[in-house]
Symmetry: C2
Subunit: 447 residues, 2 copies
Amino acid sequence: MKQISSILTDFYQLTMLQGYVEHSIDDIAVFEFFVRKLPEKRNFFMAAGLAQVLDYLETLAFTRNDLDYLADDDRFHPDFLRYLANFRFTGDVHAIAEGTIFFPDEPIIRITAPISQAQLIETRVINILQFQTLIASKAARITLAAPEKLLVDFGLRRAHGAEAGLFAARASYLAGFSGTSTVLAGKMYGIPLFGTMAHSFILAHDSETLAFEHFAESHPDNVVLLIDTYDTEKGADKMVALAPRLAKKGIIIKGVRLDSGDMVIHAKKVRRILDRAGLTEVRILTSGNLDEYKLAEFSHADAPIDGFGVGTRMTTSADVPYLDCAYKLVEYAGIARRKRSEGKATWPGRKQVFRSFDPHGRMCGDIITLENDKLTDTPLLQHVMKQGKRITGQPDMKKSREYAFSQLAGLPDYLVQLNKSEKYPVEISKPLIELAQKVDLRNSIEP
Amino acid sequence: MKQISSILTDFYQLTMLQGYVEHSIDDIAVFEFFVRKLPEKRNFFMAAGLAQVLDYLETLAFTRNDLDYLADDDRFHPDFLRYLANFRFTGDVHAIAEGTIFFPDEPIIRITAPISQAQLIETRVINILQFQTLIASKAARITLAAPEKLLVDFGLRRAHGAEAGLFAARASYLAGFSGTSTVLAGKMYGIPLFGTMAHSFILAHDSETLAFEHFAESHPDNVVLLIDTYDTEKGADKMVALAPRLAKKGIIIKGVRLDSGDMVIHAKKVRRILDRAGLTEVRILTSGNLDEYKLAEFSHADAPIDGFGVGTRMTTSADVPYLDCAYKLVEYAGIARRKRSEGKATWPGRKQVFRSFDPHGRMCGDIITLENDKLTDTPLLQHVMKQGKRITGQPDMKKSREYAFSQLAGLPDYLVQLNKSEKYPVEISKPLIELAQKVDLRNSIEP
């Protein structure tokens, strides 16, 4: 999992690369990645995935095995394959920190490298940043909708493959979740692991009570029982009846999980059953088709639910399953560039984003301008990799998480709501507009 | 990529497993995977992912490294970790072939194994089958909407991580696409690779014509030029002007690609420009926000487009980004089981699906019944793995693809349309209904 294959890329990256190599086109190119627009159901984005991009760039190399595969394709020339054998990424990276709130057109990463390198990496860089940012942005909404609750990622099974499950665990943890059920994500990213039992554990026993008892004995310090297999309230009754027997063995039931039916009604009934039995410390957890809208509903209905296992809808960002994003050449050989394709024009040149804050520390407006335009507000892009080596060391997950938390706390109130809000002010600077005009003028007289 | 980590699973699989091991609960369990219901925008599903499930089951083992990670978690006991060190999958698998059309409640895989094994694999089995089936089902609709066209997967960059891109390339190829742009998918699954150039290749040159020329010289046998960087029709004019110069060097332009603007209008204009210049053999390819609805529109508008690069909306199945599916215990220790959770009740027992066909070979109705109910129609589930070893060898991608093609050809007309169709008849057999009643009766008298 650590080193991803260098041929995890689009075929056209290699065909273009061969074109560059054969015509000795290898000046410094500058590419920037940004999101074109806010989906209808998002008010902001949260940046995520930079750590994996830097891992990828540091280890990028073509294996013998990959080169042998390419050699079987007569569209590639032997000289080009010899070139690939020595391929490394030696460029610079500027980026905004993971966990930063950002908006359309604001570059979140800038790659400065010989065009061969900056081009080849496009596919995987987008593949990492698009998805993790998508999930962090979704998970941030869930965190905002249930600020005092325990939130755990349950999404692996319906994630789009293995890496989607791992990345979603990471991005949701960054955005304020407390942990994940994905064991490998715990190992890879140091995320706390949560989990209870499935219906099959109950079904494999001849009695629900016996299943509860077996589970409790095997996990005396972590007893959370799933009580909806046959009938939720009857399940709660059985658990209440079992509690004194377990208490004699020194086992305390920590929680119950509900996974079906009307959660508000069941949670209220179960809470009453537990409280009447004096089990006021037993927490109620729920799962099943949850997202920020459901959580807001539960909060509105005063459902006595303490924690949520959030899966499919977060892990796939089901209401917005992709971002309209791009990785675009903004400068080549010292000259600013942009394409003019209809509806897809982009801002040219190396850019910086400056953010200003109100006296309470809340973000109140951004300006996108050229890198060399020195403003006094806070610049978001930082130099994070120089000549292929990390400047700052591996970003620390815990610190990134605290930073993301402070970003959410610094949102203006109107951005916190789940519905479409008024637009956050993002200004395009005068120098940037002038540069775009200059580039277009040059293109219009191109032979 | 070959051997996926055995801790790519939910934490609760391991906590349950410890419960089973400590209480010596290890009778034979039977689990089945099925989809609960058809999403609003689907009329059928196409099964995909079995090959990766069998790979996973054959290689499943806990590495020293994974066990060391688990040992740091005091929720796991040393005896249990020693048990895991010897863990292998030794069960049986019955499944419907990849490429088969199927419907809700029909099991597409059945796992028969000691419950410890059958339980642990749940997460990854769903993770593989859900996603590949999701994409094959989406890609099949795209194939049906553009039956005579060249269709190529362009989705990796916006896929949900690396494996999503690889699996989507595979599932769309299975469902009738001609190839993919993802190089690693070509290597892993033997899928033909397609690709041209990006806008950045044009932008890195001072003139569009020079960029075309450089690309053509480096890829004389595969010249497809992207002509919309500045102005689509002017791009076509430049390409026409360049064609005779390239022809003198023996280079034939095979196609042009359009990636922005109104594709119908541009394709018609470009076709006229090409035809007037006698370049009637040059094909027009397009890409950008394509899906089955767009392709049907193009077909309706008689757009002269020969091929499509289909990316994001297919790769993420954007209109239906997940399936409501489940992997459920249907029998344990020889006794049929089912949970009764509200809205989530499932059919108990080992099942088989029989399909009948009309005289033209079109599927005309299914019956879901118990495995031992011997009907004369065609059974869909086959025995594919015995005691942890494949019976049938690695399924051949080419044959699976031909089979999928024949499945699409065998769809009744009403299922082919993109809109919601009438329901395909799927009957639940009398023996199965009776078994469910028997199971519920037993549960209702459970102590």
